[in-house]
């Protein structure tokens, strides 16, 4: 191994610290996987970690699972690229947990299921509904997996410049699949908790060292002048490199309603033929930006409360009160983390503006990994290498922990909901355990296959898609099922299906045309370009439609503002229309959801009904 490393290093000039830190993270992850393998024995251990994870461990593990490649690298890159508006991402990623805490966490844990489809079936006594719910677990799961895989592929290619993109996808996919099939939920709980602390260490230490040498957060922010100021008010000694032409101007970057929210309208303004049309569109810019901002907020806040791989972790708490306490600690842990990625974005704008000129993985997404290396050029070569090694280790931890959580939730859906409930309801606990391991392998393979196809798509954009779908499907389902006794299975299913699928459809529409437009931009020859569009008439129609109707584009790119209310209204109307089918024992179900454990009403849905479970 060492000889191989030295050989690779000698041929390509890889920083040994970066390689060592990254490999150490992988090695520790695999090591912990083997170590915990001996401790996970029962089916309960694999699916819900024996329902005995303490508040501290669980909060660390949930935070570790939640802080993905999008958080670690994407947020910093987005703040650098688009400025103030990108701050909504970290804030809503963290604060979305409040909705989960206020309305869902405690009751959901009390119901005592293994998976969200369990809850769907148990609440409405409907096996059909379980099938619908399973489909959404897999939908959202795979949408969320693809960006993690992309993060893995690009980071590995960054560390080892000769490596192809798919190599990183395969390596990370294999490591995590091994870990999950060794230890299940109990195994990854330890690994994810460790990875949370690693990520916090990796995001804070380099930026504190860096800031003490090159200037602090607010000093670099002050270097960007607002539209009210004649000149920037940066204190003396704050260095700033000249911005390339592609970078947004200071006034637009530091103020709300900038590039991120006006993209659709900007395209229409460029295409507008008359000055009057241009002026009219210009006047619409700010109201449309406001609309975009609100839709983004709804998607992120409601989406957080509807992500199946996060929700499933609440079942690992011993009781409802622990579930609530865990959620509060998660908000504190991830809130502390999310203060820092924007700091990288702000300092990166001052010191590494050359990233604006590159695109995709070589562009601003790289700022977290790139910034520490600056110290190498400032008489601190060793410090620069060590710090960038640390941030690389953090990036590894980020996509590994999120992927392992996704893998557990999708494997549970396959092994517990499809195999254990639909195909073979009388399977023994041993068979279920085996099914879990096989499912992990299958999901791992599919994820690697999908991941190797998405090199062209943006990390944060793909994550946003998963959030919007979750916000329009699972969030309304859980919220209404927990609090409204009049809900029927038909109402819940209609709302969830229509809301989720319409969000999925409108997002797919935007990304299909965006990929086509991105390809067309690379074609310089006019004849070739018209031939390309002739081959893709549908994409051409959609892309032209966006330019003609920027409002429609905004509503399709950020569908939460109409999809979430649509889903909830449908649930209410259809439930009212089918009121005769409200489950007969709804009062008992509501009592289980809401009564404190002290009353002794707690029934573990799984044990009660199936006799499956713990040893």
């Amino acid at each position: 191994m060492n000889a191989l490393l030295l050989a690779v290093e000698a041929s390509k000039g890889i920083d040994p610290w970066i390689a060592i830190c990254s490999l150490a993270t992988v090695a520790i992850t695999v090591g912990m996987g083997f170590w915990t393998a001996g401790k996970s024995k029962s089916a309960g251990d694999f699916f819900v970690a024996g329902r005995s994870v303490s508040v501290g461990w669980n909060a660390s593990a949930i935070s570790g699972e939640y802080l993905s490649a999008a958080s670690f690298m994407g947020v910093a890159g987005m703040v650098m690229a688009t400025g103030y508006d990108a701050l909504w991402y970290p804030v809503c990623y963290a604060c979305g947990y409040l909705f989960l805490l206020l309305f869902i966490a405690g009751p959901l844990r009390r119901f005592g299921a293994y998976t969200i489809p369990d809850f769907a079936e148990g609440r409405y006594d409907s096996p059909v509904f379980r099938k619908i719910a399973v489909c959404f677990v897999l939908f959202i799961g795979f949408f969320y997996t693809m960006p993690q895989m992309k993060g893995a592929g690009t980071t590995l290619a960054y560390i080892f410049p000769g490596l192809p993109y798919w190599a990183g996808v395969v390596v990370v996919g294999a490591v995590i699949t091994l870990n999950v099939s060794l230890g299940g939920m109990k195994g990854i709980t330890l690994v994810q908790a460790f990875q949370y602390w690693l990520k916090v260490f990796a995001i804070t230490v380099p930026i504190f060292v860096l800031a003490s040498l090159v200037g602090h957060y607010q000093q670099h922010l002050a270097a960007n002048k607002t539209s009210q100021e004649a000149v920037a008010s940066a204190p003396a000694g704050i260095e700033r490199k000249a911005l390339p032409a592609k970078a947004p101007k200071d006034e637009a970057w530091i103020a709300p309603f900038g590039k991120l929210t006006t993209k659709a309208l900007d395209a229409s303004i460029i295409a507008a033929k008359t000055p009057e049309a241009k002026a009219e569109l210009e006047a619409n810019k700010k109201p449309y930006s406001l609309l975009y901002t609100y839709s983004l907020i709804i998607a992120l806040v409601c989406g957080t409360a509807g992500l199946p791989h996060i929700l499933v972790r609440f079942y690992t708490n011993p009781d409802g009160v622990a579930a609530k306490r865990t959620t509060m600690w998660v908000m504190i842990l991830i809130g502390v983390f999310y203060v820092f990625p924007p700091v990288y974005g702000v300092i990166g704008r001052s010191l590494t503006p050359e990233l604006y000129d590159a695109v995709g993985a070589k562009g601003t997404d790289k700022v977290v990994l790139e910034l520490p290396t600056l110290l190498a050029g400032r008489d601190h070569p060793l410090l620069g290498s060590i710090l960038s090694g640390i941030t690389c280790a953090g990036a590894f931890a980020a996509f590994m922990s999120t992927f392992s959580g996704l893998l557990v939730s999708m494997s549970s859906a396959l092994a517990h909901d499809i195999y254990g409930r639909m195909l073979k309801p009388d399977a023994s606990p041993e068979q279920r355990l085996k099914a879990f391991k096989w499912s992990a392998l299958i999901v791992g393979l599919v994820a690697v296959g999908l991941g190797s196809q998405v090199e062209a798509l943006e990390i944060n954009f793909m994550v946003g898609q998963a959030f919007a779908i979750a916000a329009a499907s699972y969030f309304p389902l859980l919220f209404m099922s927990v609090w409204w006794r009049g809900m029927t299975m038909r109402g819940a299913a209609t709302g969830m299906l229509v809301g989720g699928l319409s969000a999925l459809a409108s997002i797919t529409l935007t990304s299909v045309s965006d990929v086509a437009v991105a390809k067309a931009k690379k074609i310089t020859d006019a004849a070739e370009l018209s031939a390309y569009w002739a081959d893709h008439p549908l994409a051409k129609t959609i892309a032209d439609g966006w330019v003609a109707h920027p409002l429609a584009r905004i509503l399709c790119e950020q569908p939460a503002i109409w999809a979430v209310p649509l889903s909830i209204l449908l649930m209410i109307f259809v439930s009212k229309a089918t009121a005769s089918t409200v489950p007969a024992d709804v009062r008992m179900k509501m009592l289980v959801l809401h009564a404190p454990e002290a009353l002794g009403l707690k029934q573990e849905y799984i044990k009660e009904h199936e006799g499956l479970g713990g040893h």
Partner: protein, 104 residues
């Protein structure tokens, strides 16, 4: 909320008990959610109607950047802390009331 479906006059299994318990918890949740939602709705509106005010410098940050990038996190922690305290107190009170009802 829907009408009670099948009334049984036993203490904790009564609709009245369930309805009161759900109402109290939901009231608390909605009150906390409102604090959060008001802040979430207000910040973009302030940015929209008072851009100059929100762009003034506070310790080098612009006011709106300081609020969103830093102060929003502790604000949400406070809401969640208050919620947990009250919610657990409510649950204990319910459990106590139910036990008193049963021993009577």
């Amino acid at each position: 909320m829907s009408e009670p479906t099948s009334p049984t006059p036993v203490d904790i299994h009564s609709d009245a008990f369930l309805a009161r318990m759900m109402r109290d918890q939901l009231k608390l949740s909605i009150a906390c959610a409102l604090c959060f939602v008001v802040a979430l709705v207000a910040l973009p509106l302030l940015n929209y109607f008072q851009p100059a005010f929100m762009a003034q410098r506070v310790f080098g940050f612009t006011l709106t950047w300081l609020i969103l990038g830093v102060l929003f996190f502790p604000f949400v922690w406070v809401i969640s802390y208050v919620f947990i305290k009250r919610s657990i107190a409510l649950e204990n009170a319910e459990a106590q009331a139910a036990q008193d009802g049963q021993t009577k």
